[in-house]
């Protein structure tokens, strides 16, 4: 059974951007969004970009397509649904996601 790994304070992640975390040797992109109404959300998905085969997802731009929140790979700009990891530009590709929570202002992922 995977365990929760404490990572950082929520405030260490600037609003609407991502950071990379090393969790038991696995690279995880942790993304924090704050929408225009001020609502917070946190997501965790693989940092590995299957298109460029580089560990870069956390360095992408965060945005929305309709109601779908996404992060776009900084290399070739494919967009991934932050909730499911599904690639919005290529239905055959999707990123693994990880459980993530905010507790007492701190972020933890399960991996």
């Amino acid at each position: 059974m995977s365990t929760w790994h404490p990572l950082c304070a929520l405030s260490d992640i600037p609003a609407n951007s991502g950071v990379a975390a090393l969790v038991d040797g696995t690279q995880v992109a942790v993304v924090r969004t704050v929408d225009r109404t001020g609502r917070e959300a946190i997501y965790a998905l693989a940092n590995f970009d299957p298109f460029s085969k580089a560990m870069v997802i956390s360095r992408g731009i965060v945005g929305s397509k309709g109601d779908t929140p996404f992060i776009a790979s900084p290399i070739y700009k494919q967009r991934f649904d932050l909730r499911s990891g599904a690639c919005l530009d290529d239905a055959s590709v999707s990123l693994p996601t990880f459980p993530v929570k905010i507790e007492g202002g701190r972020v933890a992922v399960q991996a």
């Binding site: 580089a54 870069v56 731009i61 929140p69």
Partner: protein, 849 residues
């Protein structure tokens, strides 16, 4: 080799065409062919003679597909040997070098020579004609010690010659005897418009001038010209271009029938009065007329080839359409058919616009049904269509003036994507054609670039074709009657231009504020960097300042260029490419210390590759200590201003291109724009810095600098256009300030200056009006906006390393100081390179991905 002998006198353009046609038809094997060539080299392309000044070599201009083309086909060429006598009775040709060649058939292809009016002093040192490569070599040598050049003759060739003199940096004059320029092709209105346009380009035109004397210095050099009206013009160089005369001395001597004013008379088969002698090209007179263009000459060559081959239905020469369209000194001129309106009963429609500097005229038949001819000056874009209408006798619409009036809907001035053929490759990375893309847009009703990418893969490589793809979508949908908007994305129902305006006018300083007031949703990877760029162009705050940071693409976010393996490259600024030995050593030391791959870029600086995120700030610190600063290679911003070595060292240089390039690079460094900006400064017309391929490029002249704009290398190369000539430094910077800010204000997202220009209604004239004449009254505002950028410049690297809050983002992991273990380098050619995926897969455990 054949049994009968054919002798061709003259190996110019038309003589060559005859030989090439005979070879192509296999006739070269049936004949024993001998040709005399007075010039020291085989036939070359006289039509493109002027390109010799632009650096083309005699070899480049040669018409022979291979140097041994004639020999390979059994043709004997006597180079540098002139035919001096013909014995018609015994059918023998004698040459200057003493060859005697008996012939069965003889072809005269001796061309013409430039007419030099019998003016006293016409042989002064510094007088030239414009016909052969040797003439041009002489002109080039003499121009080096000249300041002023005069062309006598304002015809087509004279103006081409004027263009050459001007490009050699001379103060250029055209002296014309007639009351207008191009008297053969243009009427008074057209000639006047042409004069106005080329005078605006700095060529002085003197009409109604009859040269009576060329005054020489005691050493025999030209001093000045004197005209019949007693006025004078001092000059260092004169080129005669006062018409051509047939080289008909041989035929005259042997008693062939000649025209009253020269030329060998020929019939419909180009046969002279001697049945065994033909004449073709500019020496031949057909129905009282010499045809001084290459196309009719080529037609004559095929007519004679038919005769020699004994073709059963031989072609005939019965005159030729002398319509022309050309660019003289950058001015479009077209003249076709009965341009002067000489046909009895014809109707003339004219349109002249001194603002747009265009003159257009149509000549209609007496029944107003068909087009007989016309003249176009300043804008000859309708030439192809009108010429086709005339040739095919297309019935004219009820209001034919619509064909030449500017359309009120304002059709785009440049060539849009609609002009590209379906076979044109749009995405060269994945080899996708326009046809494929348009078919996909059409079939699946695609409206977004993302959809086109998914469907066709176009734009998924280096991405440079995305603007074209966008234009194709617009164009295709428009053709289907679907209206398309230029909204930035789903979050902003405004174009980039509108958003720029809103940001400026409402003094909006953050993305969130703009989104709250004018947007929808949360933003995306399209609008965030675009608006970050607009904010930077307007207010010039640090791109990593709190709220701006998450808007930036990864390059701007880490002030470095991301590479395929997720590492970054570092490019310090090296203004104009000038670098001290000490700085070079520091670059080497830093690269060695951090194990970086080094490469010289095309932008005259050094790129250090393979830096990991956490290495960037310490690398910058070491570079900053050696006096380097950010080169903004990562930004849609000014990149480099390249320079040649210039007058300090170069023996040809006329200005210090390095110093000026440094000044320009330092002025505009850090300027954010819709796309990257490149510039260059060359120290003289030789253009070693390739300034004409830049967004703005500068070429030094004797008197200052010429400013070129909207050039582009890359996928769709485009030459920059001359915006203004002979500027002093401050004026040039003023124009550049205005030009750049006007571009930043009005361009679409990720639109280079060349693409922007192609869509600009009104084209170059409009741009000149805005930048030079300040027609929009924006000049002072644009300059002030630029001055703000210059005054608020900061080195983004320095600000970042000095700010601990900004620095803390430069680490691989939020929860560990470890380096990214998936970044693996291997060695190649003595340096590192990123390991390929296969190489990595063998060293990394699957757990790590």
């Amino acid at each position: 080799m054949g049994t009968k002998t054919l002798v061709v006198i003259g190996n110019g353009m038309v003589g060559h065409k005859l030989l090439a046609t005979l070879i192509e038809r296999g006739e070269a094997m049936r004949w024993n062919i001998v040709t005399f060539c007075e010039e020291p080299r085989h036939a070359y392309d006289r039509v493109y003679l002027s390109s010799f000044f632009a650096g083309k070599s005699a070899q480049d201009l040669s018409l022979l597909p291979t140097p041994t083309f004639y020999e390979d086909h059994g043709i004997t060429v006597h180079l540098g040997d002139k035919a001096i006598a013909v014995d018609r009775q015994h059918q023998v040709v004698t040459s200057a070098q003493g060859r005697t060649i008996p012939y069965d058939e003889l072809v005269l292809a001796t061309g013409s020579y430039p007419f030099v009016p019998p003016v006293p002093g016409k042989d002064a040192t510094g007088t030239f004609v414009y016909r052969t490569i040797e003439d041009l070599e002489g002109m080039m040598a003499h121009a080096k010690t000249s300041k002023v050049g005069v062309v006598i003759g304002g015809g087509l060739l004279g103006l081409e010659c004027a263009s050459a003199l001007k490009n050699m940096g001379l103060e250029t004059h055209v002296v014309e005897f007639a009351p207008r320029l191009m008297a053969v092709q243009l009427d008074d209105g057209g000639g006047a418009m042409l004069k106005r346009k080329i005078e605006a380009l700095g060529v002085k035109v003197h009409l109604n001038k009859n040269t009576t004397e060329i005054v020489k210095t005691p050493e025999g050099r030209i001093q000045k010209m004197v005209f019949a009206d007693k006025s004078e013009l001092p000059t260092d160089m004169i080129v005669f271009s006062a018409g051509i005369r047939p080289r008909d001395e041989l035929p005259k001597e042997i008693g062939l029938t000649m025209g009253a004013r020269g030329g060998v008379v020929v019939d419909d088969h180009c046969r002279t009065s001697d049945p065994h002698i033909f004449a073709i090209g500019e020496v031949a007179l057909y129905k009282e007329r010499i045809y001084g263009l290459v196309a009719p000459g080529y037609h004559m060559a095929t007519v004679v080839a038919d005769q020699l081959a004994g073709t059963s239905a031989p072609a005939t020469f019965t005159g030729f359409d002398m319509s022309t369209k050309l660019k003289l000194l950058g001015v479009d001129v077209g003249s076709f058919g009965d341009a002067m309106g000489a046909t009895p009963g014809c109707h003339v429609i004219g349109f002249s616009d001194s603002r747009a500097e265009t003159y257009k005229k149509l000549v209609l038949s007496a029944d107003k049904k068909t087009l007989l001819g016309g003249i176009l000056v300043g804008d000859a874009s309708a030439y192809g269509q009108l010429h086709q209408f005339m040739l095919n006798q297309v019935v004219m619409p009820a209001e034919p003036e619509a064909l030449i009036l500017p359309s009120s809907s304002g059709k785009p001035a440049g060539m849009g994507v609609e002009c590209l053929p379906d076979a044109a490759t749009i995405c060269s990375c994945l080899n996708v054609t326009k046809g494929t893309i348009c078919a996909a847009i059409d079939a699946d009703n695609l409206t977004e670039v993302g959809q086109v990418k998914a469907c066709t893969k176009a734009g998924t490589g280096c991405g440079s074709c995305v603007t074209l793809v966008k234009d194709l979508i617009k164009d295709t949908l428009k053709k289907k009657g679907i209206t398309v908007t230029n909204h930035l994305c789903e979050h902003f129902r405004h174009s980039r231009q509108e958003l720029y305006h809103l940001v400026r006018v409402q003094k909006i300083h953050t993305f969130d504020a703009l989104l709250a007031q004018h947007g929808h949703g949360e933003g995306c990877e399209i609008c965030k960097p675009a608006i970050a760029s607009i904010l930077a162009s307007a207010w010039n705050e640090h791109v990593l300042k709190g709220p701006h940071r998450p808007l930036q693409d990864t390059n701007d976010r880490y002030l470095a260029n991301i590479q395929r393996d997720g590492t970054y490259s570092v490019v310090p600024r090296v203004p104009a490419g000038e670098i001290t030995p000490h700085q070079l050593i520091v670059l080497g030391q830093v690269a060695s210390k951090y194990n970086l791959y080094t490469k010289i870029t095309g932008g005259q600086r050094v790129d250090l590759f393979g830096a990991r995120l956490e290495q960037l700030p310490p690398i910058w610190e070491e570079l900053l200590a050696a006096g380097f600063e950010s080169g903004h290679a990562y930004g849609k911003a000014l990149r480099t201003v390249k320079s040649c070595v210039g007058s300090t060292w170069c023996r040809y240089g006329v200005q210090d291109s390095v110093a000026f390039a440094i000044e320009i690079e330092n002025r505009y460094k850090g300027l954010r724009s819709p796309h990257k900006l490149k510039s260059a400064v060359s120290g003289c017309a030789r253009e070693c810095a390739e300034a004409q391929s830049k967004d703005f490029g500068i070429i030094a002249t004797e008197k200052g600098y010429n400013l070129y704009v909207c050039g582009n290398g890359g996928m769709k190369p485009q030459h920059a256009l001359l915006l203004a000539s002979d500027l002093d430094g401050p004026t040039l910077l003023k124009y550049t300030d205005r030009f750049l800010m006007f571009y930043i204000r009005t361009a679409d997202r990720l639109e280079r200056t060349a693409t922007w220009f192609n869509k600009l209604e009104g084209g170059l004239d409009y741009l000149k009006a805005v930048v030079i004449d300040d027609s929009l009254g924006l000049g002072a505002e644009l300059e002030a906006e630029m001055q703000h950028i210059v005054d608020t410049y900061q080195d983004e690297w320095r600000t970042t390393v000095e700010n601990p809050e900004a620095r803390r983002h430069f680490r691989a992991f939020i929860n560990s100081d470890a380096a990214d273990p998936t970044v693996v380098m291997v060695s190649e050619r003595g340096q590192v390179r990123p390991a390929t995926w296969d190489e990595k897969a063998s060293t990394l455990t699957t757990a790590s991905i």
